[in-house]
């Protein structure tokens, strides 16, 4: 094929020199430099050594390091690179008062490394590599509400300076290496952090298309693990042998055999906690149910229909949220959204003595004979429906119910109960069972019914039939109608009571019909004398006390914590090569699990066909963190360098293969890697070394025509520091902090800067709110994949479907508009302005000085002071801060 040939030609030229020498010579796969290793074994690498590596190359080009930047520039640079936040005002003012500036600088490094915002800053870099988000992505983009635990894990790990090898092992195989440790389980959120195609893998009915979606899902996982840890583009070998690196298709599928049984799923953090909780609940429920039954009988409070629908005995053992699928009669706990397409007028029995069964009604304009019991008796008189329903019949509310309240009462509280009967559904109760349980022939139903969907033109119909005869009917029931009383006394012969809701002919959307506090009770009132009444009261109180005592331990029980991670089977499915990546064309024998055969010093085989899933992942993790693996340490020290200089020594941080770049300073890269391993993989220790170099501390400013610019325009040799524009998230945090509004609440579920609407594809509408919960650091943002926050996207926040090893920075007119006019900027301009007014009192000069200190970490010069003061006097403080929050100096770090 023509196109492929061109690629080959291009590649051939590209790696001519390397391919002549053979694969073995590619720098990244060679062992770490043995000479440097010897040197470091006897003497630790110092910041001066790092400078020496840099200066050596500069000298060869006749260049030298730029002079040291001023303390004010350095504290700002340091604070942003380590914390992603501006330095505190007090710190800036104190900085220059120290006599020994170098010592002061080193102390700042230590202080920032210790601050908790350090982990928040580093986590952003790491989550970029994990393409972490809080929704699944793809078409339906549903919520992933427990994903944040992994985000917190990353922040905490950086803050603790967790050894990097352990950090990786936990994220790849923590759940099987240390299953008893919560942290190690949560760490595997890494494997699941990327997007997941719910429609493709679950909703879709075509097996071919499901296999395809699944293959891409695993590819995403493999790509993430291999590119993050060893900067290798294994994914290029899915459809054909890698065009540049010696990775065959077989190698790719061998690697796939390691991941093959992993599925993204919500998991319990601590499975043991769940089991013990469940045991305790069951134990207590058993004890209370008898007591409750006795109590309710005495009170004649009746059997609760909602409780029965929720799997209970009618006396309170049922569970809110449990329900019955009207298509099958089976019990359902999962939320459903659209039971569609469904079979109609088919009666399914339910495993409960009180419930005869359920169905989805379709009345064909009143003509249809709708079976209402298992013996096939039918009822008529129901209108035509849309032949589907939204959710199960539940101990309510139903899934995504508009509101649990109606007529001023919240029916999830104060002992109230809802029986959710979303249109179109029907349920038949067996009155005989109620008579037996209540030991009476006189039964009555008492309840209210209402439309719990939203206001407007939405409505539904409600029907009650007894033995196929209509006894109750409300047509066009709307929210505004409030609650309707339902009181029905049954004859002694009545056998079946059927509750039905239908959509009123306008589609079933919003038709959340609920019966409230629906009970069947004895309609005969016992006549008691005063003695008997007193005795009865005593009995009731005594029972209540006993129930309370027995169930007290439940109050202390918390729901088991969950996180979004992966689950796996004990054994892995067979994996074969897929011809051209096509899931329908398997070729060859099943493959044994293996990693990529790039490194001659390590065995790439990870087991045989029988090796359990857990062991496969453990071996891969250990292969990656083996100190002999030269890639892992090189890759992470290069990332550290990039995080502090804007570019790595290798500027393709997630591709150390032949398609990537050569390192600008290979010896320095190896020296840093070796020192990292020697320091027990402490990232902070290597960062401390890097940040204490003259190279880091030099100026970034340069004038047009500088010598360095002529000889090394790209600054590969580092004759200056790189000025950097802040990333989207840092901009947001910075703006928040200007007016003193940054909320430093750490950890936990993220803040949601959008209005969420449940729908087939949920709708996320972004809002700017004057609300402290919204003022947390951007790392705690609830990240939505398919509907990203437009303000942040405009400022180059990357697409969360992508692994982002390196942020790109663009400059656009839309950015200017966003920063000049967006509600968020204006809101915090007001806070900034109010802060200056308060602190600077009415002194305009002091207001200007404060603003410069906060925004630029420096004082204004005389000219700036005059011009700014004049501007404030003529145009006001608001206009002034708006200009500051748009200025280049604000967004660029020297």
């Amino acid at each position: 094929m023509k196109s492929t040939r061109t690629v080959f030609l291009f590649i051939a030229i590209l790696c001519l020199t390397e391919s002549l020498l053979g694969e073995e010579s590619h720098w990244a796969w060679l062992p770490l430099n043995p000479e440097i290793q010897k040197r470091i074994a006897s003497q630790d690498l110092t910041s001066q050594d790092i400078d020496a590596y840099i200066e050596k190359r500069l000298e060869s080009k006749g260049l030298q390091l730029s002079p040291r930047a001023s303390q004010r520039v350095l504290i700002r640079r340091l604070s942003f690179t380590l914390r992603g936040l501006p330095p505190y005002l007090g710190d800036v003012e104190a900085f220059e008062s120290y006599s020994d500036q170098e010592a002061a600088y080193s102390r700042w490094i230590d202080k920032f490394l210790k601050s908790s915002s350090y982990g928040e800053r580093m986590a952003q870099h790491w989550l970029d590599l994990a393409h972490y988000a809080d929704t699944h992505g793809f078409e339906r983009d549903m919520r992933r509400d427990t994903a944040w635990r992994y985000r917190d894990y990353v922040i905490q790990s950086f803050n603790k300076d967790k050894p990097y090898n352990q950090f990786l092992e936990e994220q790849i195989a923590g759940d099987v290496l240390w299953p008893g440790r919560d942290e190690a389980n949560i760490a595997t959120g890494f494997l699941a952090a990327g997007p997941w195609d719910f429609v493709g893998q679950v909703e879709n009915k075509s097996p071919v298309s499901k296999r395809k979606a699944r293959a891409l899902d695993l590819d995403d996982m493999i790509t993430q693990v291999m590119s993050t840890t060893i900067a290798t583009t294994a994914n290029c070998a899915r459809c054909h042998d890698h065009k540049l690196d010696p990775i065959s298709q077989k190698d790719y599928y061998g690697l796939k055999a390691v991941f093959a049984s992993l599925k993204r799923e919500e998991r319990i953090v601590n499975p043991a906690e769940l089991t013990s909780n469940q045991q305790m609940i069951a134990h207590i429920q058993k004890k209370t149910s008898e007591l409750l039954r006795e109590l309710r009988m005495i009170e004649n409070s009746g059997l609760s229909l909602a409780d029965i629908v929720g799997g209970g005995d009618g006396w309170g053992s049922g569970k809110v949220g449990l329900g019955i699928d009207p298509r099958t009669g089976s019990s359902v706990s999962m939320k459903r959204g659209g039971l569609n397409p469904s079979k109609v007028n088919i009666f399914s029995t339910v495993n409960s003595p009180f419930i005869e069964g359920v169905f989805i009604p379709e009345g064909q304009g009143g003509k249809a004979k709708i079976p209402y019991n298992s013996t096939g008796d039918s009822l008529t008189g129901i209108p035509s429906t849309s032949k589907a329903t939204w959710d199960a019949i539940r101990k309510g509310p139903v899934n995504s119910q508009h509101s649990p309240s109606l007529a001023g009462v919240d029916f999830t509280k104060g002992g109230n109960e809802l029986l959710g009967l979303h249109a179109n559904s029907g349920i038949t109760f067996d009155l005989k069972a109620f008579r037996n349980e209540l030991k009476t022939d006189a039964l009555k139903l008492s309840a209210k019914v209402g439309y719990f969907g939203s206001k407007g033109s939405f409505f539904a119909d409600v029907w009650i039939y007894v033995d196929g005869e209509k006894v109750f009917e409300v047509r066009g029931l709307k929210r505004d109608d409030g609650l309707k009383d339902v009181e029905i006394k049954f004859s002694r012969q009545a056998r079946y009571m059927t509750l039905i809701s239908t959509d009123g002919g306008n589609g079933y959307s919003h038709d959340q019909v609920c019966f409230t506090n629906a009970t069947l009770k004895n309609s005969n009132k016992e006549k008691l004398n005063s003695e008997q009444i007193k005795e009865r009261q005593l009995k009731i109180v005594s029972l209540q006390n006993r129930i309370h005592t027995v169930s007290r331990p439940l109050d202390r029980l918390r729901d088991p914590q969950k996180f979004y991670g992966t689950v796996s089977e004990k054994t892995s499915p067979e994996i074969r090569v897929l011809d051209r990546g096509d899931t329908e064309h398997e070729v060859g024998e099943p493959l044994k699990p293996a990693t990529l055969p790039l490194l001659s010093m390590l065995d790439h085989r990870l087991g045989d066909h029988e090796t359990p899933e857990a062991e496969r992942r453990i071996r891969l993790a250990r292969w990656i963190t083996d100190p002999k693996n030269p890639l892992t340490a090189r890759v992470i020290v290069n990332r550290l360098w990039q995080w502090h200089f804007g570019h790595g020594l290798v500027r393709t941080p997630s591709d150390f293969g032949k398609g990537g770049e050569q390192p600008s300073h290979p010896e320095l890269l190896d020296a840093l890697a070796l020192q990292l391993i020697k320091n027990s993989w402490s990232l902070k220790s290597v960062q401390r070394l890097i940040l204490n170099t003259k190279t880091f501390k030099q100026k970034s400013q340069y004038l047009d025509g500088a010598l360095g610019q002529q000889r090394d325009a790209e600054n590969r040799l580092l004759w200056r520091q790189n000025p950097r524009r802040l990333e989207a998230e840092a901009i947001r945090d910075y703006v928040l902090s200007m007016g003193g509004q940054l909320n430093d609440k750490a950890y936990g579920p993220g803040y949601e800067d959008f209005k969420y609407t449940q729908a087939y594809a949920p709708i996320y509408q972004y809002v700017v709110k004057d609300d402290r919960d919204h003022f947390r650091r951007s790392i705690y943002r609830y990240r939505v994949r398919t509907t990203p926050n437009r303000f942040l996207t405009t400022l180059d926040c990357p697409d969360l479907a992508n692994i982002t090893p390196k942020r790109l920075t663009s400059t656009t007119a839309l950015q200017s508009l966003a920063l000049f006019n967006n509600e968020f900027i204006l809101l915090h301009s007001r806070y900034f302005s109010a802060y200056l007014k308060k602190k600077g009192r009415e002194d305009v000069g002091e207001q200007v000085r404060l603003a410069f200190m906060l925004a630029y970490s420096r004082s204004p010069n005389a000219e700036e002071l005059t011009e700014s003061s004049d501007f404030i006097r003529s145009q006001g403080l608001l206009a002034f801060v708006r200009a500051i929050l748009n200025s280049n100096e604000f967004y660029y770090i020297d």
């Binding site: 196109s3 589609g507 437009r790 697409d799 508009l817 000049f820 145009q875």
Partner: protein
């Protein structure tokens, strides 16, 4: 001004991706590119593209792809073996087109009665009958049609084109998207995302709701922030002073200069965007041509008319969505995804598309713009020739029809064939890759030479597996 096309991917990569912050200035150059300065790989036939996207999956057998055999087999089981399983159902009986097919124009191309107005344009249109998709899922299939890949995270066609050619205008973005006013298509705004390309190349979604500002944050919210807006000009002047002072000691850093220019461009957008979108200034007869006088057709008609106005003003790539996402259940499906009642939903959307798209073609032609404006119309996949339930059709990634017209396209031709029932493309089978290669070709770009390095590969819009440009539809 620099040359926006990068002949050697490697030098471009060196320049753009690897240099210290050198990117901002260049990105701005693309937005501000001088039209005469832009150099293409070969002489372009089209200067700009209008892309109509019909999300949900338009049925080929009810619209463009005439299948007499389906009429003969009407009522017989589509899959007697019972082995086939589609996205949501097993196939029912063979269901011929709900609308009668007729031949039209000098070319005699077939079109169904669903499109009476487009039928009068067939001699301008080239039909691609043999398109297929890798996937039967809306989101991934939309991504595929827009980016060439079924996974999210890749740059859309409009992004690649603005990266390659920059803008024709200094006053408007190079890539504008006009979503259905009722909502976003499946997969959301990343359908016009820049993927791994710099965000400067992402599509700018215009608000297409009547009476609302076309661009977010174009102006300060007057009602809430009057004290800001009345100081706009003075604030900008002061901002320029601050920036000029800052730049004095940093003249080497061109990004700073670019950021200053971006504020100038933003100010120009504030006047150009409202002007470009004020369709009320159009003659009544023009408004009526686009169906603005009818409640069903007015929304899409507005989008089409807006597209023509933006094209006139030099926007390089304009994408129009004819339909939204499958949101909550409505009387009529919010897009072409006609599972349960095809006559109802295709009937509605067919009239919408027919009115807007035919008006666009005729209007462009009348203004002499059709020759250099490439109009394409796609969907993400087709629908099954066998019925779903009683009246619907399920997803069919095996066959669908796209059409192209204008800028360098040979009118009245058809390319490729589906089998006799319209179930699978069988002759000259193509995917998004070939369509994308052809669009790039018409714009003067060699699709193999417009690349960007990402995740181990020099990525390109047209992928590596495609057959390249579809020569048969070139004029």
């Amino acid at each position: 001004m620099s040359t926006p096309i990068y002949h050697s991917s490697f030098s471009r990569r060196g320049f753009l991706q690897l240099t210290g912050g050198g990117f901002g200035a260049l990105a701005l150059n693309c937005l501000l590119a001088d039209p005469s300065g832009s150099k293409t790989h070969h002489a372009p036939k089209a200067k700009r593209v209008i892309h109509i996207f019909c999300p949900g999956g338009m049925s080929q057998v009810d619209t463009f792809d005439y299948k007499p055999a389906l009429e003969k087999r009407a009522g017989q089981p589509f899959d007697p073996t019972g082995k086939l399983q589609f996205f949501a159902s097993k196939p029912g009986k063979c269901q011929p087109s709900y609308w009668k097919f007729r031949q039209h124009g000098e070319s005699g191309r077939w079109m169904s009665d669903l499109f009476p107005r487009l039928a009068t344009c067939v001699d301008e249109m080239a039909f691609l009958y043999s398109m297929k998709s890798e996937t039967a899922l809306h989101g991934p299939a939309c991504f595929m049609m827009n980016t060439g890949q079924s996974l999210p995270g890749f740059p859309s066609m409009g992004s690649w084109i603005s990266y390659g050619l920059g803008s024709e205008t200094q006053d408007l973005p190079a890539f504008v998207v006009l979503p259905d006013p009722s909502g976003l298509p499946p997969g959301g705004i990343i359908n016009w995302g820049a993927g791994f390309l710099p965000s400067v190349y992402q599509g700018t979604g215009f608000n297409t709701r009547k009476g609302q500002s076309p661009i977010e944050d174009l102006f300060v919210n007057e009602a809430r922030h009057k004290e800001f807006s009345k100081k706009d000009r003075a604030t900008l002047n002061f901002l320029n002073k601050l920036n000029a002072q800052h730049q004095k000691t940093r003249s080497g850093n061109k990004d700073l200069e670019a950021r200053i220019q971006a504020y100038e461009l933003a100010a120009r957008l504030q006047s150009s965007a409202p002007e470009a979108t004020s369709i009320e200034s159009e003659k009544e007869s023009t408004q009526n041509l686009y169906g603005l006088d009818h409640k069903d057709t007015q929304a899409f008609g507005r989008q089409c008319l807006l597209a023509r106005r933006l094209a006139e003003r030099g926007v390089r790539f304009i994408q129009i969505y004819c339909g939204a996402e499958n949101t909550t259940a409505k009387k009529i499906r919010p897009n072409w995804d006609s599972h349960e009642d095809l006559v109802r939903d295709h009937g509605y959307w067919g009239k919408v598309l027919d009115t807007g798209a035919s008006a666009l073609l005729k209007d462009l032609k009348a203004r002499g713009m059709l020759d250099e404006t490439l109009v394409i119309c796609t969907t993400e996949f087709g629908r099954q020739p066998g019925a779903q339930g009683g009246k619907g059709r399920d997803h069919n990634p095996g066959a669908f029809t796209s059409w192209m017209a204008g800028g360098g396209v040979k009118g009245g031709v058809g390319y490729g064939k589906t089998d006799e029932l319209g179930f699978k493309a069988v002759e000259d089978v193509i995917q998004s890759h070939e369509l994308h290669a052809t669009v790039l070709h018409l714009l003067g770009i060699d699709h193999e030479r417009l690349t960007w390095y990402h995740n181990g590969l020099e990525q390109r819009l047209s992928g590596f597996e495609g057959k390249g440009v579809i020569g048969e539809v070139l004029a």
